[in-house]
Symmetry: none
Subunit: 211 residues, 2 copies
Amino acid sequence: MGRQKIKIEKIEVKNHLQVTFSKRRSGLFKKASELCTLCGVEIAIIVFSPAGKVFSFGHPNVESIIDRFLARSTGPNSHDPFHLVEAQRNASVRELNLQLGQILNEVEVERKRGDNLDNMRKTNESHYWWEAPVSKLGLEELEQLRDAMEDLKKNVTQHANKLMNPSSMFVSNLAGGVFDQYESKPSHGIVSSSHVNAAVNSNFGYCHGFF
Amino acid sequence: MGRQKIKIEKIEVKNHLQVTFSKRRSGLFKKASELCTLCGVEIAIIVFSPAGKVFSFGHPNVESIIDRFLARSTGPNSHDPFHLVEAQRNASVRELNLQLGQILNEVEVERKRGDNLDNMRKTNESHYWWEAPVSKLGLEELEQLRDAMEDLKKNVTQHANKLMNPSSMFVSNLAGGVFDQYESKPSHGIVSSSHVNAAVNSNFGYCHGFF
DNA sequence: GAGACTATCTATAAGGG
DNA sequence: TCCCTTATAGATAGTCT
């Protein structure tokens, strides 16, 4: 029978409501994450269920976006382009290091999970779902990948350090366009390094809970 | 010709990005409002565009939901095990996808900058500082790395999909700690393996590029 | 930028295991 | 509770205005 049209009004059947809430919440968060990726925007979503449970999605994280939202018209230096540029610049290297450190973590985690899976397959052959990925990108490759990522991290760090030097021609030539974004609308930009730092901290952007 | 499928990755054509942002933002807000009506929930959405413009949706209003959200995370009980457990529920397929998509973007960015640098070296030999990194991890390797990351992304996605399913034997046998978090009551402590948490909790700070 | 138009693509309502 | 399938309602990419 497939999908039927429904009226957009309060669902009264509790069981039905739970199913719809779960599906549509995850659909909403997926749409938000796509919007983040496609358009390079920052999004925070907070949902309170009727039971009072909270679900949230945030990229990079909910708190930093709330900070920006609350501070957007009250920040003391919000109209000073210099502070915006400086804050962004200072955040850059730390952010890069953080990001790349996390890549390494995840590659490492993935590798360990591969190990676990290998053991698992011996116990229960029906768990075939991991086989294709492992065969496609084996543990050895993952280790090589991890090593390559470590090299990449070093390279990017060096690269960033050089870019941090304002006397570099490269900075003014290639990085100017990004700064323009911040300089064009100072009142809505990042208003202080503390807010940038908040964004740099790793956080929990996506909340799963039970209704 | 109608709608075409698009890859979920950063839209580079500015004009195109603007149109997509506008359409999808309104679609997101519409979905949110439907969720409010259908399920009787309270939702706040905050979006910062790349230009720093802010868009928000709130039912009943953004501020009251932010208040509730902040009261919850800064309140007297915010550091008790229950809240920590809640915080650690954040593993999600979407988040992993988003993070890994960004890794791919950044590897791609790095590759392109390598290209730029190549051109630059021809113009001015004194800009030697990029040479060591490039020779150590060349552009070709970066491209291979990017491809490997794409595979890794698929693996992690599948893996995460399975981890999200508590009925999986793999989960209960090997990753039980993670789901203990989901199922444990507030009074229970947190016991989980650190490497899993590293992956679960990490979230990339948003970056418009390396600068 | 904001609408209008379609052809497609995606999300999801229903139902079942 | 979770997952899967199916049919269909709804969202939207590409284009023009």
